[in-house]
């Protein structure tokens, strides 16, 4: 039987690989996974997983893969960890087990103050390439909540990957393969069933700039047990509705239902929206984000009263506090489970429990109000960039519901610059800029700038203009509304140009676009690209510039480039210049309307981009009077 399989594999392999020769897969690789093998046995609500990995490091660039890092916590117990380092001839150079690896405890993710996790790690290397690192790991998974999947594909090729699942015959679960189309073999064995997913010769993933969430779709399998228990909350039935119900049960004891339990007074307002705003504003302003993850505390929030008393908590804790208060005020409010923008994509077709963030949504008069208490500078009703336009699970009374969070519009995320440029008698520019930042621009700037001292602020501001300190000297600055939530962030700068304006043959040339550069995504090469471009978020940039000059500079005539505008489905730009005799007034505007530029829009966008570049590179000419 296996002989037939091998023969069939050779016949079908080229077509399965899309016509790629097997040798091509490994050409130019810096490291290769020889095998990645999982064997998982389901034992009630728990599982025992054995993994065997082997990776050959071919050169120094492959050393990203020569380390072993495994963790252990209340829900994942390592039973055996064996590592071997082999040289090019297959000789065993080093052999370690768990106790030989470095151990660090208490360190979770970078944002966590503390986590009850212990990490075992060690790097294995030889001076002579190639060398191979093999390791075997056996660990217990203490809840099927943590049985979530396996990754077959990496940025290096994989010779063989397989996942063998041994489970009781009555065990039910769902799975989905991403990036690779693999159907498992299914073999009953006594009172068990064995599923096997296998794939050989898996190509390396390509690193692609500005790839949106979900791209590239790396080959992996996701699993979801039809029933599982985490803490004291059981999930029965792997669909979104039941995931929501399970979540409600998990949070049940942390939500405060009696106002007397909280030493807190309901705000007095005229309507529910104002009440919700007062509650949100207070939680946002009087608490701070601190993440401590111990045991079930990584998934279940602290009691809302404790979070209130401490004045700090993680996203779950702060959301449970906000939700408790809103509900105590009679406002229908639900937790929102999210995988934030930039961290992955929630697949609406595959119900699972993979989330990394929680916030809340209230429903008032059939309208939704979304609130993230961890966002220090978010206005009531606004979400931070990471929460915008993503698939989320709202945990309602009747179960989970998948929805998409609101998008911000290009008008929400604005930068408006009002600038006065004065050309003095020596031909040097003196520039006054007032820049107002709105929406996501202001959030990012506030988060960054509030931590800067004077020197750092000066350096940061100087770099806001194209060419930065090389082109301009920042003489003075003033920042307004840095801590404000409601007002736009305003930055006033007085600068002088380090170089004179371009003057050639008695003609002064001024680039109307001199205060703004094209973003890096706009210079991204789209030739041959087959995945969308992550554009960040929709935005509008508006530049209004008044250019004046010293009376000693007398111009015979002034050439103003004609007004022009260009637009495509997702973007528009315009340039409008007025000759006001003693000054020139320039209005530039550029907008992008979505988060992602889809592949089908590439051609249109290329044309738009070329035209925009042409518009913005036309110069104003001031012809000096002949002496």
């Amino acid at each position: 039987m296996s002989r037939w399989l091998i023969t069939l594999l050779f016949i079908f392999l080229p077509s399965a690989l899309g016509g790629i020769e097997v040798n091509d897969i490994y050409a130019g690789a810096d490291a290769i996974y020889n095998y990645k093998i999982w064997e998982c046995e389901i034992k009630g609500d728990q599982a025992e997983v054995q993994t065997r990995f082997s990776v050959t490091i071919l050169n120094a660039r492959g050393t990203d893969y020569n380390g072993v890092v495994e963790y252990e916590n209340d829900f994942r117990k390592i039973k055996r960890l064996k590592v071997r380092l082999l040289d090019a001839n297959g000789n065993i150079i080093a052999e370690d087990d768990k106790k030989d690896l470095n151990k660090a405890c208490g360190f979770g993710d970078s944002y966590e103050l503390y986590s009850d996790v212990c990490t075992y790690y060690k790097e294995y290397a030889l001076q002579k390439y190639p060398y191979t690192v093999e390791y075997e790991l056996i660990y217990d998974v203490k809840s099927l909540f943590f049985w979530q999947g396996a990754k077959f594909q990496h940025y290096i090729p994989v010779r063989k990957a397989s996942y063998r699942l041994i489970c009781p015959s009555d065990f039910t679960f769902k799975y989905k393969c991403y990036g690779l189309n693999i159907e498992p073999s299914v073999a009953p064995e006594g009172d068990k069933i064995i599923y096997t997913w296998e794939r050989d010769d898996i190509t390396a993933l390509q690193r692609i700039d500005s790839a949106p969430d979900g791209y590239p779709a790396g080959g992996s399998i996701s699993f979801m047990a039809d029933s599982l228990t985490l803490g004291d909350a059981a999930l029965v039935g792997a669909d979104w509705k039941n995931v929501g119900k399970w979540h409600s049960r998990l949070w049940e004891s942390c939500i405060i239902k009696e106002i007397d339990t909280m030493v807190w007074r309901l705000p007095v307002t005229d309507d529910k929206v104002s009440t919700a705003q007062a509650i949100y504003d207070e939680v946002r302003d009087k608490t701070r984000y601190v993440s401590v993850s111990i045991g079930i505390g990584g998934w279940k929030p602290e009691n809302a009263v404790l979070t209130q008393d401490r004045g700090y908590g993680d996203c779950k804790g702060l959301s449970a506090l906000l939700l408790s208060r809103l509900r105590l005020a009679g406002i229908e409010t639900y937790p929102v489970l999210a995988l934030t923008r930039g961290d992955g994509l929630t697949d609406v077709d595959f119900p699972n429990v993979v989330f990394n963030h929680v916030f809340v949504v209230s429903v008032i008069d059939n309208d939704t109000i979304w609130m993230d208490p961890t966002c220090d500078f978010c206005r009531f009703g606004d979400l931070p960039y990471g929460d915008e336009k993503i698939n989320v699970l709202v945990s309602t009374d009747s179960g989970g519901v998948i929805v998409v969070t609101p998008s911000s519009q290009s008008e929400d995320n604005k930068v408006i610059k009002e600038s006065h440029i004065f050309i003095n008698s020596g031909g040097e520019m003196e520039i006054d800029v007032k820049a107002d930042y709105y929406g996501n621009f202001s959030l990012a700037k506030r988060n960054k700038m509030e931590k800067l001292d004077n020197d750092e602020t000066r350096a940061y501001l100087a770099d806001l203009l194209p060419g930065g300190e090389r082109k301009y000297s920042l003489r003075n600055y003033n920042i307004m509304n840095l801590s404000s939530i409601e007002q736009p962030l305003t930055i006033n700068m007085q600068l002088s140009g380090n170089k004179k304006v371009d003057e050639l043959n008695h003609v002064v040339y001024i680039n109307p676009n001199l205060l703004e550069t094209l973003g890096s995504s706009e210079t991204l090469n789209l030739d041959g690209r087959d995945i969308p471009v992550d554009w960040g978020y929709p935005y509008t940039l508006q530049d209004n510039i008044i250019i004046a000059w010293d009376s000693s500079l007398v111009f015979d005539s002034i050439y103003i480039p004609p007004d022009d505008a260009v637009e495509c489905a997702l973007a528009k730009a315009s340039c409008h210049i007025i000759n006001a005799t003693d000054s020139i007034i320039v209005s530039l505007s550029s907008s992008f309307f979505d988060y992602v530029l889809p592949v089908e829009q590439f051609d249109n966008f290329e044309k738009y981009r070329d035209t925009k570049k042409a518009i913005l590179s036309r110069y104003i000419r001031l012809y000096k009077k002949s002496e």
Partner: protein, 645 residues
């Protein structure tokens, strides 16, 4: 009667000691916050502070049983950003230490106190050290936070350093060292102004001393200390912090005296034992050495062959155990073909000895971790073993850590000022004499400007000396395209198409990178004029952004950066306007730029030379201005008038 007087005097004195001890630091007591502290705003010389240390007081008492450091820190939060800046606090200590009496609390502007619950102190264990971390509750602008603890340990020979300065502006920092009778310590201060180096000395009664001897108390106080933040071209950060290091000199009872510091030879002898315990199977090492030097007669050739073998055959890995050797024995390292730089250098020393050469290990502190202070008799100052080989008439310091350092050239971080040569009782301090050959980098770019304004470029970069080791290691671990993007093309801030790249190393260790690429939007067209800047990749930006700097600039090694750009135009050139020649010079550094034209081709040549890698704090503003001007020259444009069509 006299007994009674004596008794009451002792009670009185003991009470006085307790009062003195617990009311130090301007009389601050735990939880007692003065109106001045509640009203305290940002300091005049650092008005942008989000939070300030009101006081950081340490009292270290040394007795025959233990060392106890009592520490009390109080911090004022000045605004909401200060909450994020200081809301989570932590401190580290050796894993053998005991932390006692840890308390922390928030004091709100109305005087309410909210304590950090005991269960909310968390201990992280990264290995070797432990780290306690906690979050202050109920924080807002105007709150004061404070914490205190006692660290009890038995490191009598090496007291923990006290840092008066840190990440926050510190209004007041005080450190007291209380020595029980019989202890003699010596102190070394770092970055303390001369008038603050001598401590205030007091004698305190010690009721437990049966001979009536008194405790000695030494106190150092500093005020108004600006924060030390990371800046470019700084060596080990701790070297810039005002700090004090204390070490045990001797202990004496009525009957005996123990000398702990007998000088560097004593330390060297002990370290030699440590190395000898590591070195094993010398015969096997001898056999390998014999095979390496077979046929060689010149001692220098032998030394070079051994050095080459070690840098090429033994992989350097990070020291994950924290104390020199990651393998138990040298033979294990040889089997694993992998060891720390220290292990490789011990092997190097051993092999050189096997080859009949005079070689010794030398302990140094790398520049990124410490600065050697010969007055501090502590091995903790050192963190690397290198090798000294005497090949008469000359000698060499060798460090086989990096695969890119030619024989006789130390890696940049190993360019220490001094070290301890390990030779048993003959161990001695040595000056590390380094090869002062300048690191050299030359960028040569040919630009051809098409009639449609596209710049077709080829850049050839030569890296020599320390540039070769630095960029060679980066090349090894980065994808080739990423290397070129990160260190070259992305710096231009315009779209580019990269065509080819080639990277090579010659037998002398010089690296060369060749890239060809085109730039569609680099050239500006102003009517019949073509305007463009000569391409420059290194030192495009002034690295010294801060107007003030509270510590020296340390480039680590002298270097020369030469940039040559040759431009040709496919259009008929009518005239050219070239940037003026530029000459900048300050003590220790110079920059020159010249432009030439033969009517068709233009050559722009610039050279930045840093002859003296160390610039004291006083010359910072001059150095900064030098780099402002040198990097502004990158913006100087060439204007070429071309014939009308």
């Amino acid at each position: 009667m006299s007994d009674h007087i004596c008794f009451f005097r002792r009670i009185f004195l003991a009470s006085a000691v307790i009062i003195l001890l617990f009311s130090s630091a301007f009389g601050q007591k735990w939880g007692k916050v003065s109106d001045e502290e509640l009203m305290q705003g940002p300091p005049n010389d650092y008005p942008e502070a989000n939070a300030i240390v009101l006081f950081d007081v340490g009292r270290m008492e040394v007795s025959i049983e233990r060392v106890e450091l009592y520490r009390h820190v109080r911090i004022k939060i000045l605004n909401r950003a200060g909450v994020d800046e200081v809301g989570d606090v932590g401190f580290s200590y050796d894993e053998e230490d005991k932390i006692k009496g840890l308390q922390a609390q928030t004091i709100t502007p109305d005087g309410s106190k909210i304590k950090v619950d005991k269960k909310d102190f968390f201990t992280k264990k990264p290995g070797g050290h432990e780290y306690i971390t906690f979050a202050f509750p109920s924080l807002d602008s105007g709150c004061i936070i404070e914490y205190k603890y006692t660290n009890s340990n038995e490191r009598l020979h090496r007291l923990d350093a006290w840092y008066f300065q840190g990440d926050l502006y510190t209004l007041y920092s005080e450190f007291s060292l209380i020595l029980n009778p019989g202890f003699v310590y010596s102190s070394a201060t770092v970055q303390l102004p001369p008038e603050k180096r001598e401590p205030e000395t007091e004698y305190l009664p010690n009721p437990d001393d049966m001979y009536g001897r008194r405790n000695q108390k030494f106190t150092w106080r500093l005020t108004d200390l600006p924060p030390i933040k990371d800046e470019p071209y700084m060596s080990f950060r701790d070297n810039y912090l005002a700090s004090i290091y204390n070490q045990l000199v001797s202990y004496e009872t009525a009957h005996s005296k123990w000398d702990y510091i007998k000088g560097w030879p004593d330390i060297g002898e002990k370290f030699q034992t440590f190395i000898e315990e590591y070195v094993d199977r010398k015969k096997d090492v001898g056999k390998i050495t014999d095979s390496l030097i077979a046929g060689l007669t010149d001692p220098l050739d032998k030394a070079k062959a051994i050095y080459e073998y070690i840098i090429k055959e033994i992989k350097t890995h990070e020291n994950d155990r924290g104390y020199y050797f990651s393998n138990d024995k040298m033979s294990t390292m040889l089997e694993n073909k992998s060891g720390t730089g220290d292990e490789k250098n011990v092997l190097l020393t051993q092999m050189l000895k096997s080859a009949g050469l005079s070689a010794w290990p030398v302990l140094i502190g790398t520049r990124d971790k410490t600065v050697f202070n010969p007055k501090l008799y502590q091995t903790q100052q050192f963190n690397r073993i290198i090798t000294f080989v005497d090949i008469k008439p000359t000698f060499y310091y060798l460090d086989a850590t990096s695969g890119y350092c030619p024989f006789g050239v130390l890696p940049p971080e190993s360019r220490a000022t001094g070290g301890l040569l390990i030779d048993g009782r003959n161990s001695e301090l040595v000056k590390i004499v380094v090869d002062e050959t300048k690191a050299y980098r030359k960028d040569m770019t040919y630009m051809t400007i098409d009639t449609d304004g596209v710049a077709r470029c080829s850049t050839s970069v030569q890296f020599c000396g320390y540039f070769a080791s630095s960029y060679g290691e980066r090349w090894d671990t980065k994808q080739p395209d990423d290397f070129v993007k990160d260190y070259f093309l992305d710096k231009l801030d315009v779209a580019y198409d990269m065509d080819t790249l080639n990277f090579s190393q010659d037998s002398l260790g010089m690296l060369e990178l060749d890239i060809t690429y085109s730039l569609d939007d680099y050239v500006r067209r102003l009517d019949n004029n073509v305007v463009l800047k000569p391409i420059q990749y290194y030192f495009r930006e002034n690295p010294f952004k801060s107007e003030k700097r509270f510590f020296p600039v340390d480039f680590n090694f002298p270097f020369v950066y030469q940039n040559v750009v040759k431009m040709t135009f496919n259009d008929d050139v009518v005239s050219q306007t070239l940037p003026e020649p530029l000459n900048l010079e300050i003590p220790g550094a110079s920059y020159t730029r010249s432009c030439m034209s033969d009517g068709t081709n233009i050559i722009i040549q610039s050279q930045l030379s840093v002859d003296n890698p160390y610039f004291p704090q006083e010359s910072y503003s001059r150095l900064r201005e030098f780099f402002v001007q040198a990097t502004a020259a990158v913006e100087d444009e060439i204007v070429v008038s071309i014939a009308s069509e």
